[in-house]
Symmetry: C2
DNA sequence: CGGCGTTTTGAGAGAGCTCAACATCGGTGG
DNA sequence: CCACCGATGTTGAGCTCTCTCAAAACGCCG
């Protein structure tokens, strides 16, 4: 769900773009919250530093994703946001977003719907990770992401990206797909996979 | 975050309890949405049946958890909710909840905050699952769940439960904890674990 | 005490990871 | 048009780590 589909136009207009150099921090733990961010290009890592100085990664936001939603409801950021490779982000100021929600219950409802859907999606992915077998994990992904016909799965990025999303190495994913195809359970095409009932 | 801490009292009063027998369905794919549910006791599985008749599990809700939040924004349920072992749930009717949000922006904001926090938590858990090594996964958990002193982690349930949350077998968790303790990285007590800087 | 669930330790096997080599594809520039 | 290059895709072989199965110690509660 893209920002432009639910964020009120007035708030969208208030968006501020910012280009981050590799290694640069967008905000740090304890900084007063400015608003929510959308990743336009690159990746932004949310990290927290533990007592012994090690970094723990909380989340890695990629292009088109929103992060720091919780900042709307907290006076300060609860972690650091850093980009390793550089990134472009857009900031939607907290005050503008919140006042839009207060004046426009419809907008608030849309935002809640987005958040609720994201929760559902994350829970499903987490459930997927409970599946040990690479093959079954791929099956779970395919079944859940099948289109309206229940059989066709369109692939967005590369298989390598998909491997990351599934928590597998790309080799394991290639092998699982090759096996499933060899046994006739799926049929692979350029940018899609078709499930076959057997 | 318990329901009673954020759901307006008027809506809470409208909650309806329901006892489910083992194997019973709470709702099915396509049923008109009634509202959101809270699990009081037992477990409720959200499942979807794929084209070839296999079940894919989307989520398993346990005691005190809320599920079907997305139902507030959809006319029909998008999956089945079934309990294997029996459960008690409480239903908060959709109309009551939504009207409370419309009349009371404060309540809407609280709900958004809950959802945003849940997203953050889920993302962190998902990131945790990207860690292969049992030991490092435990480290990630401990670092993230350390109290205000950055060193003490209070354990809520049993270690077995924790193993499930971490996506490890209980044996693997026991061994990882034993190793960390043997190397002096942590100190274990009755219901807590203390990190030691070294 | 007896029973049940959690915690703990042991041994073995399997599955995915790691490292490595190679194929394939798309884009770029001579 | 072709050579080159980088990234993706693919396959092979070995190893490590966790899972699985098993057994026993421990703690709690009736």
């Amino acid at each position: 769900m893209a920002i432009k589909d639910w964020l009120p136009a007035t708030v969208q207009a208030a968006g501020v773009e910012r280009v981050l150099a590799p290694g640069q921090a967008l905000f740090r733990l304890g900084d007063p919250t400015a608003g929510i961010y959308e990743v336009l290009q690159g990746e932004v890592q949310m990290v927290r530093v533990d007592a012994s100085g090690r970094e723990i990664i909380l989340y890695v936001a990629s292009a088109s994703e929103i992060f720091a939603e919780a900042a709307l409801f907290s006076p300060v950021y609860r972690c650091d946001a850093v980009t390793k490779t550089g990134a472009t982000v857009r900031l939607y100021p907290k005050a503008k977003v919140l006042s839009a929600f207060r004046q426009n219950p419809q907008a608030a409802e849309s935002f809640m719907a987005i958040l609720a859907r994201e929760i559902m999606h994350l829970r499903t992915r987490l459930e997927q990770r409970n599946i040990r077998s690479a093959r079954d994990r791929v099956r779970h992904f395919l079944a859940f992401n099948a289109g309206t016909d229940g059989r066709t799965v369109l692939l967005r990025g590369t298989l390598k990206d998909l491997a990351g999303e599934l928590g597998l190495t790309h080799e394991a994913l290639y092998r699982a797909l090759a096996d499933l195809a060899a046994e006739g359970e799926i049929k692979r095409s350029k940018n899609k996979i078709v499930l076959r009932n057997h």
